[in-house]
């Protein structure tokens, strides 16, 4: 069964249930106690009455009518009966008492309490005898009357309670409602918010119990605001970055159209193609990053970094040859890591591509794969001009470029590298080579399989 998830409902149920339960237990205990005391009291009255009858019978044995009844003096009197037997004969009885002894004694005289049934009515009977055992007295009382006394006692005790329960329910309901009203107000406040409104909710004046929740909520709001802000900035920056190559392509194409000299036209057309390549690369990077950030679930399998790096280098070699650069791979076997092959190859491609682009003609670019304890380290080293520490710190800031690099990258490559590394739990660091060597080293540390 589904439990209603309302704090108000649960509190109301708990409080009312407990109160009524405790009352009920108290009433049960009172019932047991009252019945015991009542039994004691009434039994003692029976015994007392029996004793009186015995004494009286012993003093005056007369031969009057044995049917002579005692007068009915109280409305409860019919519920009490007595019999007096003298030497086995009925000497006296109340009008509601039977002729036969209430307890079948046989020949023996007896003394004590017994519960008997006479004419479909249950009686509590006390039997007593005189000292010479010639007088036998029975005093009986209908058990039913004890029941009605008990019920009356309980009625007077529990009656007001039955009246109190609805009243109590009402007051408890009201109090609980008051108690949870800050929650309800918060709900209304949140429901009325516009989706773009990511302001913090005021914590002042809120109950202490709600503060952790509000703090968490405000934390979430500020994280979402940051995320949205970075998305907005990204879209603006991306539009900005795409316009420039397109403006370049357009200008070059117009120059080619209007050119009168062949050399001029050829140069403009080649520049147009370069612009297309750059725009393509930018769009590819933007898409890759968008996919990575959309949180596509990577497909993990065993990936051999060395053979993957070999493929990437083979793909990019023409780019390096065009700049008379030397590219190479220096790998130890085995170099298997757990990862998504497509993503890892995007990462390595970006690193090698960057190294080739930002290194001058004739430089060398080397990919090294080494094992260090439980880790496999992939290093991309170049012999380019390197970077100053402040520029290294700004890597990964989107669209940040190193001044004077001569190459116009988008700065997206490093964001992609970091994102892929994060997916694989790898640690990536970039630093300038230690003197006397120049150039950059980018180091990615993976856990080996």
């Amino acid at each position: 069964m589904r439990i209603a998830h309302s704090i108000q409902g649960r509190l109301l149920g708990l409080v009312l249930g407990l109160v009524v339960g405790i009352w009920f237990v108290t009433a049960m205990l009172a019932w047991v106690d009252v019945r015991h005391e009542l039994d004691e009291l009434l039994d003692s009255h029976l015994a007392q009455a029996a004793a009186l009858l015995v004494v009286q019978q012993a003093r005056e044995v007369e031969d009057g009518d044995p049917g002579l009844d005692a007068p009915t003096l109280h409305r409860y009197a019919p519920k009490v009966a007595f019999q007096v037997f003298h030497e086995g004969r009925l000497a006296m009885r109340s009008s509601n008492a039977p002729v036969m002894p209430m307890i079948d004694l046989g020949a023996r005289a007896t003394q004590g309490f017994a519960d008997v049934e006479i004419a479909a009515t249950r009686w509590r009977v006390f039997a007593a005898h005189g000292r010479e055992r010639d007088v036998q007295v029975f005093v009986g009382e209908q058990l039913e009357s004890r029941g009605s006394i008990l019920r009356a006692v309980l009625r007077s005790a529990l009656g007001p309670l039955l009246l109190a329960v609805p009243l109590l329910a009402l007051t408890v309901w009201w109090s609980v409602r008051q108690g949870v009203s800050p929650l309800r107000r918060l709900g209304i406040t949140l429901a009325e918010r516009r989706p773009q409104d990511l302001q913090s909710i005021a914590v002042d004046g809120m109950p202490a119990e709600m503060k952790p929740m509000l703090d968490a909520l405000n934390g979430l709001f500020s994280r979402i605001a940051q995320l949205m802000d970075s998305e907005r900035r990204f879209t603006a920056d991306a539009a900005h970055e795409l316009r420039t190559p397109i403006a370049g392509i357009r200008a070059q194409a117009q120059v080619a159209l209007a050119a009168t000299a062949d050399a001029e036209r050829t140069h403009a057309l080649q520049s147009t193609l370069q612009g297309c390549d750059r725009a393509t690369r930018l769009i590819e990077q933007l898409l890759t990053l968008a996919r990575l950030e959309a949180g596509i679930s990577p497909e993990f399998s065993a990936v051999d970094l060395a053979s993957m790096a070999r493929k990437v280098i083979a793909d990019l070699a023409p780019l390096a040859f065009a700049k008379q650069q030397v590219v190479g791979l220096d790998a130890v076997a085995p170099s298997e890591v757990e990862g998504d092959e497509t993503l890892l190859s995007v990462m390595v491609r970006n690193l090698v591509d960057n190294a080739i682009r930002y290194s001058p003609d004739g430089a060398s670019v080397v990919v090294r794969i080494e094992r260090e304890g439980d880790s496999i380290i992939l290093r991309v080293e170049d012999s380019g001009p390197g970077m100053v520490a402040t520029d290294v710190a700004r890597l990964g800031q989107r669209f940040f470029r190193v001044v004077g690099s001569g190459q116009r990258g988008s700065g997206l490559g490093w964001s992609i590298v970091l994102r892929v590394a994060a997916v694989h739990g790898a640690d990536v660091q970039a630093r300038a080579m230690e003197a006397p060597r120049t150039g950059m080293v980018v180091e990615a540390r993976f856990a080996s399989r």
Binding site: A236, A239, H240, E241, R243, T244, P245, I246, A247, G248, I249, R250, A251, Q252, Q254, V255, A258, A259, E264, H267, A268, S271, Q274, G275, R278, R401, V403, G404, G406, R408
Partner: protein
């Protein structure tokens, strides 16, 4: 017309320089903010095309500090930032025109010519004096309604003199108008061009002020 182009993107800068040259401009191209500011303050350009996302110093800063330094030449801001607040800020800081990339080269050239014309107080595109009419857009010159063939330098020289009609231009000023960086200037080049112009358009048009420079006397708005 000599133009300063400040653009850090190699492809776009190269394209703009080539395109504007085809359309008759002399283009000096700088690739960062510091160089742009230095050139704006130091050289007598007719106008400047300024990208905002420049390295070293943002284009907006370059513009505002140049304006504070009293640089009055017309500046056309060419940028990828298309948001209205960016445009407003650019114009407020001192841009004379604000163009969002990508831009048509012919439109860019027309805007530059318009900026230069307005900067010289000329409401019309065509300049005219003493029966000589000059159309900067078509780069054509007529004398008494008949077309006259001028070389590019001669045209630029006539254009500069007509824009500055009534003012004396020194030989150095004229040279700076006619030649961009790295171009060899013969010591008597200006005299030679003036001589050619007088031969083609008549001797009375350009007056020599000895030891000072040259002047084009008066100018009436001319019809095409």
């Amino acid at each position: 017309m000599r133009i300063l182009l400040a653009e850090d993107d190699l492809l776009l800068g190269d394209g703009l320089r080539a395109g504007l040259r085809q359309l008759g401009f002399l283009v000096d191209w700088v690739r960062d903010g510091d160089a742009a500011e230095r050139e704006l303050r130091g050289q007598p350009y007719a106008a400047a095309v300024l990208d905002l996302g420049l390295p070293l110093k943002d284009g907006m800063e370059v513009l505002s500090s140049a304006r504070r330094a009293g640089v009055t030449l017309p500046v056309l801001v060419l940028t990828a930032r298309d948001a209205v607040p960016d445009r407003v800020r650019g114009l407020d800081v001192g841009a004379d025109d604000y163009v969002v990339k990508p831009v048509d080269l012919n439109e860019l050239a027309a805007r530059l010519r318009a900026l230069v014309r307005r900067a010289h107080g000329q409401p019309q595109e065509c300049l005219s004096a003493h029966g000589v009419s000059l159309d900067p857009a078509a780069r054509t010159v007529t004398l008494a309604g008949k077309p006259v063939t001028l070389s590019a330098r001669e045209f630029d020289l006539l254009h500069a003199l007509m824009l500055n009609a009534g003012r004396i231009m020194s030989r150095e000023q004229i040279e700076q108008h006619l030649y961009s960086w790295g171009q060899e200037v013969d010591s008597n080049a200006v005299e030679v061009h003036i001589h050619h112009l007088r031969r083609k358009l008549g001797g009375a048009l350009i007056q020599t002020v000895r030891g000072v420079g040259y002047m084009l006397a008066s100018l009436q708005p001319g019809a095409r």
